[in-house]
């Protein structure tokens, strides 16, 4: 093994309420391709953000040694200066600009005060040659496919004389050929002396390309494996190998055989991304059942939920949707709500709650007509309803007239839940229902879910926390790259099996 180009020593990073990384050590040898794997939320991106200066020096403890020197990186430009470049999952190119403008954006080639465009175009062409991309540098980035955009990003990094290239899930949105091209390019760059760190969920690809693999779990380094000692099975075991704490209420209740929701040959095409996001999805949900949708971030679970719930993002849909045996087509979330479907969103602050309004207004929002007569809201009845949910869901707030922005995450989540329970749905879709909330509130939400299915409600739970999916679901569907990669019953589902299907 070569001398290390990068050493990160005992890195600890805390966010309010969570320890994202605790005492992580990470070493990358010069000239290797080093892969970083781990579940959602294991701390991979956080670690890379420290390395690239997004989380500046001083906001974490520990030491970053790059090229033999201790680095106090406090911005992305700092890290670029020493030769570290990071390429994110969401590409950071400007679509309306040309390829050459993008490549030299931020470090333009200048003659005095003016940009030397001729030189820029010439050098951009050379960079493109290095990444084996045969296009005219004068085309606009928006006219390129995702795979080519990815390569432009790499060309941009190379133009900054990069020594360490970090790729955050570079192949997650690429098709097979583009992925293969990218991996080949990484090998070429390795020949040219560029060291790479790649974060990936696709374990086959990781095993194929990596020289060394580091596994993170719950903010800690659990293993560093060399190419010759690694197997997929070993990796998965390291990734998920935690004890399932028994915080899940007992499953005493059996769902009935009556199917309340069924989706057949469901396809969705994203109009702005210009690609298919759901492919031939089939699943069903029975009365009184909790089904879990497991999968990696970006696998298409939220899109699936939205496409069923009135399709507010305007995907082009194909396929059939049955609610209680009747074929349905929803044009607006309104239609879905009227049919008895409720959707608690993943991002409660972004599109779940109205933060500047109070608890009662948020709870009644989706069903105001219930407490109104001829269009006039009964304000007193509203307070009463809100107080009922405050008590039943144990929402901790001094009064229902408190703004929801002042509530903690767990209590905000309960307000979201209350809002949708007030609609009295038959089918409840919960998207990441316990993300970012503490264990106590989690348990309360699990208990509420169990009570609801006992009363005959059916629940779809989308979750990136495997133990939660396994602990709560009667059946688990695994979603991967917009497809249903598998279906497991509660009895047969294990973390290893789910992870294997999800990373395929």
């Amino acid at each position: 093994m070569n001398a290390p180009i990068l050493e990160m020593k005992s890195i600890t990073k805390e966010f309010p309420g969570v320890k994202a990384l605790s005492d992580v050590s990470f070493q990358v040898a010069k000239g290797e391709i080093h892969c970083l794997v781990g579940e959602n939320g294991a701390g991979k991106s956080t670690l890379m953000k420290i390395l690239s200066g997004v989380y500046p020096h001083g906001t974490y403890t520990g030491e970053v040694v790059f090229n033999g020197q201790v680095q106090n990186l406090s911005s992305i430009s700092d890290s670029e200066k020493v030769g570290i470049a990071i390429i994110y999952q969401e590409l950071a190119l400007i679509p309306e600009m040309t390829v050459y403008e993008n490549i030299f954006l931020g470090h333009e080639i200048k003659n005095g005060l003016l940009i030397n465009w001729n030189e820029t175009i010439k050098q951009a062409g050379e960079m493109l040659k290095k990444v084996k991309l045969d296009i005219n540098p004068a085309v606009k980035v928006k006219d390129l496919g995702v795979g080519k955009q990815q390569l432009v990003e790499i060309a941009k990094a190379l133009s900054k004389d990069v020594k360490l290239l970090i790729l955050d899930e570079p192949t997650s949105s690429l098709n097979e050929t583009d992925s293969e091209n990218l991996l080949n390019l990484l090998r070429d760059l390795k020949e040219q002396g560029v060291t790479s760190i790649m974060i990936s969920h696709k374990l086959k690809e990781v095993i194929e390309i990596a020289d060394t693999i580091t596994v993170l779990r719950d903010g800690q380094t659990v293993a560093t494996l060399r190419k010759d000692e690694v197997t997929e099975h070993k990796l998965i075991k390291h990734m998920v190998g935690r004890e399932i704490n028994n915080i899940y209420p007992k499953r005493e209740h059996k769902p009935s055989h009556e199917i309340v929701l069924e989706v057949r040959n469901w396809n969705a095409h994203h109009p702005t991304l210009g690609r298919a996001i759901l492919k031939d999805v089939n699943f069903n949900l029975k009365k009184g059942e909790i089904i879990g949708f497991a999968g990696l971030i970006g696998s298409g679970r939220t899109e699936l939920a939205l496409s069923i719930f009135g399709n507010p993002d305007g995907y082009q849909l194909k396929g059939e949707l049955y609610v209680k045996g009747n074929k349905k087509q929803f044009h607006h979330p309104q239609d879905a709500i009227k049919t008895g479907i409720a959707y608690v969103t993943e991002d409660r602050k972004g599109d779940g709650l109205i933060l500047i309004q109070d608890v009662k207004q948020n709870i009644t929002l989706a069903n105001l007509h219930k407490i109104a007569q001829r269009g006039v809201v009964n304000n007193n009845a509203e307070i009463q309803v809100a107080n009922e949910y405050k008590t039943n869901l144990n929402i901790k707030t001094p009064s229902v007239e408190q703004k929801v922005s002042n509530l903690s995450g767990g209590n905000q989540q309960k307000v979201c839940l209350g809002k949708w329970l007030f609609v009295a749905p038959d089918i409840l879709i919960l998207d990441e229902p316990t993300r970012g909330i503490d264990v106590g509130a989690k348990f309360e939400i699990y208990t509420i879910m169990k009570d609801l299915v006992k009363q005959g409600m059916s629940i779809i739970m989308i979750s990136s926390e495997l133990p939660e999916v396994l602990g709560m679901s009667d059946r688990v569907y695994i979603v991967s790259a917009g497809k249903i990669a598998g279906e497991l019953s509660a009895e047969e589902a294990t973390q290893e099996k789910v992870m294997q299907l999800a990373t395929n």
């Binding site: 507010p312 309104q334 709500i337 599109d351 500047i356 109104a372 809201v377």
Partner: protein, 400 residues
């Protein structure tokens, strides 16, 4: 808790809301002192209200527009244009010569309908074509400005020869016959003032009783009584001032009715709550089953109707339609809404606040005119007040 502690608590919790009432009060006292009482004279107050009218109705509509995170720049010239249309329909010499002139009871609804249609066009551009409202309404600004010139090109200023129409901006409600009691005072205005106070008290008591029947917290009795006395005193005071001149003007009646209706819709109905929800978080509103598109139409349609009303008030006040009618009304309306506490970020604001905001702005103009301060300094002062109002709004937000 003692009375004063209670009072302090209520005041602290509602400082944002009471802030602009206090500001208006301070401004009025200031000008009353500097003009030796001329400012607060019955005649001046009536003038002030009539001058505020055509901006106030625009400010009401603009409040809703800003609440849903949009803007409408076209309202000023739309008002001017529709005022001209109304004038032509009643009094254009060519129209009259052909006997095609319409009576006032046809002209007013027609103008309001045209306003709604114009508003819906802007709404269509914003909701359906997804054009930013700034651009869509800027296009309207240009178009209506041109349209006024087109329709007034051949005639220039159109004099309106319709007494009923002209009374809207200049007339007063009739009085009951003199019975030798309180000579020189407008008695119907006084009676209406007393009725308003009685209705207010009954309404507040009812509301309080309902709250208590739900076992909700209500204001402590002394504070509640104080609030009632305070509100009654304000209504009484204004009534007395107005009754001392010629009574309630038709403009004041129209503005009052518009304010009451819009205030009711925004604070008490499902529609109003949905509008606030869209302003607070459009994505969350959409996912809660609210059709954002539909409400954009509703809000812009209402804005168009109020623009037409503003045009009618203004044309009536001048008793004519001019080529420059409506110039800068939109900015006065926007300023009034911001001074009145509407949040630029959307989702927050009250119709009554914008009316107060409009009153603040016109009071400044009126008071400074009386003091003999030049127009140049008037603009500077009004600009500073606008900035101060928004700074106050931003710094007190989130402290509750």
């Amino acid at each position: 808790m003692t009375f004063f502690e209670n009072a302090k608590k209520v005041l602290q919790q509602n400082i944002r809301e009471y802030g602009m009432y206090i500001a208006l009060f301070v401004i009025m006292v200031f000008f009353t002192i500097t003009t030796d009482g001329t400012f607060i004279s019955s005649r001046n107050i009536v003038n002030l209200i009539n001058q505020t009218g055509y901006i106030a109705v625009l400010a009401v509509g603009m409040t809703l527009i800003i609440i849903i995170r949009q803007i409408d720049l076209s309202v000023g010239f739309l008002a001017g244009f529709l005022g001209a249309i109304a004038a032509i329909a009643m009094s254009d010499p060519r129209v009259v010569a052909n006997g095609l002139n319409l009576p006032i009871y046809a002209v007013i609804p027609l103008t309001l309908c045209l306003g709604i249609m114009a508003g819906l066009v802007t709404g269509f551009l914003v909701a359906q074509m997804k054009i930013p409202s700034f651009v869509a309404s800027l296009a309207g600004w240009l178009i209506y400005r041109g349209a006024i010139l087109v329709v007034t090109e051949s005639t220039g200023t159109i004099i309106i020869a319709n007494d009923a129409f002209n009374a809207i901006g200049n007339g007063f409600i009739p009085d009951i016959p003199d019975i030798g009691f309180l000579p020189g005072v407008h008695k119907l205005t006084l009676i209406l003032g007393v009725v308003a106070v009685i209705l207010l008290v009954i309404n507040e008591l009812n509301d309080r009783r309902k709250k208590q029947s739900y076992n909700f917290e209500v204001l402590p009795t002394e504070i509640f009584a104080l609030k009632l006395i305070f509100l009654a005193a304000i209504i009484g005071g204004i009534t007395w001032i107005l009754a001392g001149y010629q009574g309630l003007s038709w403009t004041a009646v129209i503005v009052l009715v518009v304010t009451l209706i819009y205030n009711f819709v925004m604070s008490q109905t499902v529609l109003g709550r949905h509008i606030y929800a869209i302003g607070g978080n459009p994505d969350a509103a959409e996912l809660s089953g609210i059709s954002v598109k539909k409400l954009i139409y509703v809000v812009f349609g209402s804005m168009g109707m109020l623009s037409a009303l503003s045009g009618i008030l203004f044309a009536s006040r001048l008793q004519s339609a001019t080529t420059t009618a409506g110039t800068l009304f939109e900015l006065d309306a926007i300023a009034a809404a911001y001074v009145g506490g509407v949040s630029a970020a959307g989702g927050v604001g009250k119709v009554v606040g914008s009316i107060i905001g409009a009153l603040v702005m016109t009071s400044l103009t009126s008071g400074m005119n009386l003091m003999g301060i030049g127009i140049s300094y008037q603009y500077i002062v009004r600009g500073a007040v606008l900035a101060a109002a928004v700074i106050f709004d931003v710094t007190t937000r989130g402290k509750n």
